[in-house]
């Protein structure tokens, strides 16, 4: 059993937090993981991605081979498309629809959405608005996570446990906000 996930976004949008939560959940199962991150120059507002590999057997490569990712998990719609060469034909795109426009030539949003909708398995939704609605403005990434976990074969209980463990030191308010965000995301995908 393996799950290869490309996490995508723009530097500073919190994709490494997602990797930490999923990694924690996988390790709690006794699985192995490899997680290649981007540090350095691209973190200054550039496109960033992380290759997260979870498996119940030995993982060799730190990078996911092209054409074999089970999921592109993105917190920004155009960034989701940047990693299409990695997606398996049966793989999922789960992405936030709110664009992050820090470049002058961002393409028309409708065209970006149409390209995402052209992928057989996709969930495209406005995670920012949901995060604001449920008063967890800074947990947009966790809302997207909620929409993704079922496709990754994780139960809500497993991810809740990991969120509690990882955010515990930030206090109950932060834990609660993230649990609300998770639930809101789960509701989207079900």
């Amino acid at each position: 059993m393996k799950k290869d996930i490309i996490l995508a976004g723009v530097g500073g949008q919190g994709i490494l937090t997602i990797a930490t939560i999923l990694g924690h959940a996988a390790l709690s199962r006794g699985w192995q993981l490899k997680q290649a991150e981007v540090h350095g120059m691209s973190q200054r507002g550039g496109d960033v991605q992380s290759h997260l590999r979870l498996s119940d057997s030995e993982i060799w490569s730190d990078l996911i081979p092209m054409g074999q990712a089970d999921m592109i998990f993105s917190v920004e719609p155009m960034e989701a498309l940047r990693y299409l060469p990695y997606l398996h034909s049966d793989g999922w795109i789960i992405t936030n629809s709110t664009p992050f426009k820090n470049i002058p030539n961002y393409p028309p949003e409708e065209e970006v959405y149409n390209q995402i909708k052209a992928i057989k398995n996709h969930i495209l939704f406005d995670a920012d608005s949901i995060a604001v609605e449920i008063k967890a403005r800074r947990s947009m990434n966790i809302v997207v996570l909620g929409a993704a976990i079922d496709k990754l074969g994780f139960s809500s209980q497993e991810i809740e446990n990991s969120i509690k463990a990882i955010f515990a030191r930030k206090g109950d308010t932060v834990v609660e906000a993230n649990l609300r965000a998770l639930k809101a995301g789960i509701d989207i995908s079900s």
Binding site: G23, K34, L63, P65, G67
Partner: protein, 533 residues
Amino acid sequence: MEKLMLLGDEALAQGALDAGISGFYGYPGTPSTEIIEYVQKSRQAEAANVHRTWSSNEKTATEAAIGMSYAGKRTMVTMKHVGLNVAADPFMNSAMTGAHGGLLITVADDPSMHSSQNEQDSRYYGHFAMMPVLEPSNQQECYDMAFYGFELSEKYHIPVLIRLTTRLSHSRSGVQRRDPLAQNALQKPDDLFQFMLLPAIARKKYKNLIKMQADFEQESLNSPFNSFSLQASDTSKGIITTGLAYNYLREVFGHDPIPYPVLKICQYPLPMEQIHSMYDKCDSLYIFEEGMPIVEEMIKGANFKGTKPIHGRLDGTLQRDGELNPNIVAKALELSDTYGKDIPEIVTGRPPALCVGCPHADSYLALNEAVKEYGRGHVFSDIGCYTLGFMPPYNAINSCVDMGASITMAKGAADSGLFPAIAVIGDSTFTHSGLTGLMDCLYDNSNVVIVILDNSTTGMTGGQDYTAFGKLEEICLGLGVEKEHIRTFVPFKKNFEEAVQIYKEEIAYEGVSVVIPKRECVQTLKRKHKMEA
């Protein structure tokens, strides 16, 4: 012992801590920075009083590490690949002096130039210096190689180069710890000639270094990190991998056994005996290495009997530049390859950019206004976040070559008559390699304006402190810049007019001026607020 989830950089740091290290030295540089950052956060390092503050540059760091080795203690110096150019002098000569306490020189290369100005391969330096090189293929090997490296270093009294690459430095996986070793006691070298490279002594030491090469090769043949098997069903190909290329090879065969003989190399000098026997047994060789084709070149230069094909980056079987991945390895071996869909054409590039609110932005907008009348092509810059001032909407700078080159290139251009000649350098970069260039300018009274962008941190690598922090004006004054030509302002939009005026006045002054726009990096400021909240 417990299992930890660590980046390759962190695994090496934890390994060195557990292997009884007494001090780390280094200058930040992607992808090596996380080694010392990890140690700075480590309670174990604090309890054991391990040296872990940053040095001014890679050269001073390497020399300090050689000094710690002289005193009998285990030590490591860390840097990115281009940092080894700065440290090349002590590095090359450390192979001549040799080590006393275990000395590991860790260099993280950046193939594909994710965050660098070139993709030079540090294994050439290892070969050049005739030093053993260790190149881990995974996080566990990073950890284990710290122990092994110190052992090797102390056994032969030789520094050992540890070569990392971006994908391993910045990839996380499980690492099994071992029981920690104690630090070495303070002990002067038994041979007080050891670190004395007067020609008469150096000649003897060089002969000794040459003599040890056979021992180093024997160590590679027996290395626990290399593996070699000629037992295979198919000898049409023999495969040689270096470093993490081995993982890509295993990945493309999945759960199937690899039908060909495989030599996994993670320790150098090359185990030539094994390579010869592979060449004799197989019809062709395939060489997969992360980085430049040094192994391929050396094998092609070896004295083989026959003309069997040797495939790699040099004959185009693999791309000549950039990092490897599983797909590249699969294609080279003519295995079935997979690919998703092409990136839609509407997807545009998203290059890194100065952060919203970055002080450099205000410094550049004012500078652009001040030099507008001269046209573009007058601003030499340097290595750091502010290099992003090249991008629109700023288009403010015209060069980025190496640490410190802004000042000296501006000097050379000014000496040629270019006016104005302006250097833009960060505060940490100035500390690293700017002071000597400034002295050259002062010696000649060159007509330059040197802008030291003071954001009070080493920004690009994530916000590390630096040795000249808070002392820039005093340093410039002390070096001999005239007091009335050291100008400062706070780069905010509201101070735009003042900034333009200062730049213009100093451009008009014939001689050396230093302008210091000073405002803290928004990233480090944000982090401080978070910690206080």
